[in-house]
Structure formats: C-alpha cells, structure tokens
Symmetry: C2
Subunit: 243 residues, 2 copies
Amino acid sequence: MPQNQHLLDNIAIILLEPKYPENIGSAARAAWNMGISRIIVVAKEYPDHGRMAKLATHNALALIDTMEFHESLADALKPFSQVIGTTARRGRHRLPGNSPREVMKKILPLLPANQIAFLFGPEDRGLTNDDLKYCQLRSAIPTADFSSLNLAQAVAIHCYEIFHAVVHEQKDITPAPKIATSHEIENMYTYMEDSLSQIDFLQDKSHTYYMRNIRQFFSRIRLESRETNLIRGICRQFLKHES
Amino acid sequence: MPQNQHLLDNIAIILLEPKYPENIGSAARAAWNMGISRIIVVAKEYPDHGRMAKLATHNALALIDTMEFHESLADALKPFSQVIGTTARRGRHRLPGNSPREVMKKILPLLPANQIAFLFGPEDRGLTNDDLKYCQLRSAIPTADFSSLNLAQAVAIHCYEIFHAVVHEQKDITPAPKIATSHEIENMYTYMEDSLSQIDFLQDKSHTYYMRNIRQFFSRIRLESRETNLIRGICRQFLKHES
C-alpha cells in the first residue's frame, strides 16, 4: 500500500456520461495503478459491466464492482468540497485553467480534511458550462496545438499527478481546515437565487449570466460549512421579511 | 506549434512488438497531442493499418502513415544517442529506475544535439534484459503496489512529462554536446566483445554476465563519437597484434 493511502482515499474520479464502457474500465485501471479506488459514473443508464470489466483487467475489477452510479451530477457531487473540472485547452474564449500539476499544489492542503472530485466529461464534447458551474477549479493538460487526449489517457495523467503529489510532496504541506461540501454550497446558491429573483435582480435574460458570475466569485473563496449556513440564513431571513 | 518544437522533433517513441495495433494508434494519438511525431514500431510483421488508424483518430493519422518500421531493435536504435527503457516497477531484483520526471532532467541537456528514444516493451511482458542492454537509462512510472499501466497510458504519461519539460524547463538548461549514437556504441561493444573473447576473459558461462556489466559501466559515461572510435581502435589494434 502506498504512503499516504488515507489521502488518496479522499479522491474520486467522476466520469460524466462516458459513451464507451471500455473507457470506464481503462480509467479504473489507471486509477487503481495510482492508488485511487473511488470511481463514480454519472449517466442515464448503468454501463455494460462486461465491456467495463474487459479493459479494467483483473486488478481493477474491484473498482468496477464497487463503482458508484448516479443519474444526476449534482447528487454525485454532494459529498465533495472541491470539484476539479477537467477540460481540453480548446475553447478560445474559455479560461485556460491550471495544469494538473498546478491544481495539485492547490489541492494538497485540502486533502487531509476534505473529499475531492476530479470530473471528466464525455469523450466527444467534454464538460459544458452547465457542468462546470459545480467546479471550483479547472484543470487542462498542456498539449500541443489545442488537441485533446482520449478520456482514459486524461484520467491516467491526472491520477499520475495526484499520486506523485500525494506520495512525494505532501510532507511539506500545512493542512487546511474542512470546507463546505458541494451539497452545502448548492443549497446556499438555491437560497441566493431565490432571494435575488425575488428582488428582481435576476431576470430571465440575465439570470444565467449573473448566477455564473456569483458562482465564480464564491468558488474563489473557500467557504466553510458555517459560512454557507450564515449566508443561507441571511437569504432566508430576507425572503421571510419580503413576503 | 508548441515552443521548442525542434527539441520535441529529436524524440522518438519506439514500440517493441506491440501485440495490439490499436495500442499503436492510441500511443500515436498521445504522442501527437504532446507534439511528438516520430513513432517507430519494431516487430516481425507490419501491424494492421486499419486497426492502428481506428484509435489514432483523424489528427494522429499522419503519425501512423509516416511511422517507421523495423524488424530488428538494434537497427531501429542506430540513430539514437540515448535510449530510455521504460519498465514497470515489478521485478524485485531489478533496479527500480528513475521516474519519468527524473529521466527528463537528465535528458533535457542532451536534447538540442542528440536523438533520444523512449522504448516501450510488449503489453504482456515488457522489456527483457536483452532489450534493456541497449538502454542507458530506465524509466519507471511510480505506481501503487507494483502495478503496471497499459501501454498507451504509459506512453501518454511519458509524452506528457517530455512535453512539460521541453516547454517549461528547457530555458534553464546548459546544452550538452553531441554524444555517440547507438550504432557507434554497438560497434564498439562488438569489437570489445571480440577482443575479450580472444584473450579468454569472456568464456561461455560468464559471457553475458560480464558484457552486461561492461555495458552498465559504459552507459553511465556519455561517450562521444571520437571516444568510441578510440576504444574501437585500441581493440582492433589489439586483435591485429594477437592474431
């Protein structure tokens, strides 16, 4: 068992609507090789077990058998305090994001006390802006010419960087406290959205735009649970007062 | 085109007897993504083009079409001055080798003036000791529990480290001079072997053992062409004198 296995256990690989079950198997194999055992698939239907198992090979089969399955991304993300959205460096108008190595520097202090998810989009189109709204960080593997790797290779490179950082760089890190989970954060946003709609700050046309900006703002702050409660409390009180 | 493309052009990925042509395609795609365009396959038969192309995807197809093919590993390696043998951290009695990141630190100074090959063995058994005799360096991807990655993932992680080093770390490097190629080195060993057999230093039983030790010794020195010529000259003179 590798050093710092308890930290690797705080990491999950989430595959959103993967098209080919073989890629889940191949990703599981890469994860297993790097000491990561939590695989979550978000999809409309449970993927074909045989096709997953074929590429997982014998060793990573346990990861397929214990794999979590969700139909909704929001549900899958609930326990996680940081969600890293992995993207190709393709879009011209999209923020480029950090390299996996830079992401790991930001993630390492959080690992002892928080659950962290790396989110991978479907093979053909990657993560949409709507998927990315749940992410506090983005990770883009540096490549030549705006190209993109295949899904399992992108998972392999991320797991490799995670393993490298956790095993070789963790010792110099000052651990950060426990921060709010996606579940708590999303609850806070729901209250906030209701309040801001109530006062007509959010209107049909600007709704998505402003909420995305608010999310971007809050994702730069690492809110603790009690802080999300505080903000939610203010919104609730405000709504009660208005109605 | 990425920065330092001319340095990436000095790197080749060599796949020795890959069992599945799909893995060649997948490896080519990973290489292409990281700006590496030279793929060499060493095998008994030319691999099925359709099966390679399927996983190379459109972009990396050019790499498959311009792929070099050799039946002998020694022939394939001739132009390269450093050959890095990639191994899994499996064998207990085998030297563990460096991580790809450590290997890149050693390789970077050589890149401006030398051709470098990364050698990958077959999916099932990896490189044998006989294959590894051509390698001056070994690279082992750190993994949990002595596991091994699949071929294309191992290629992807190596290409990722190569690209990262060449694009981000090359600027601080003092370039090393041109050193001897595998062709020159192997010629030198042939003369050396003849000489040492002639004086009965190499006998049937100890032959492989001593030659491996001599190779290990010389692979730690970065011989220049003129130095291999000097050693070959001494051996030739010695043989002439003896006979």
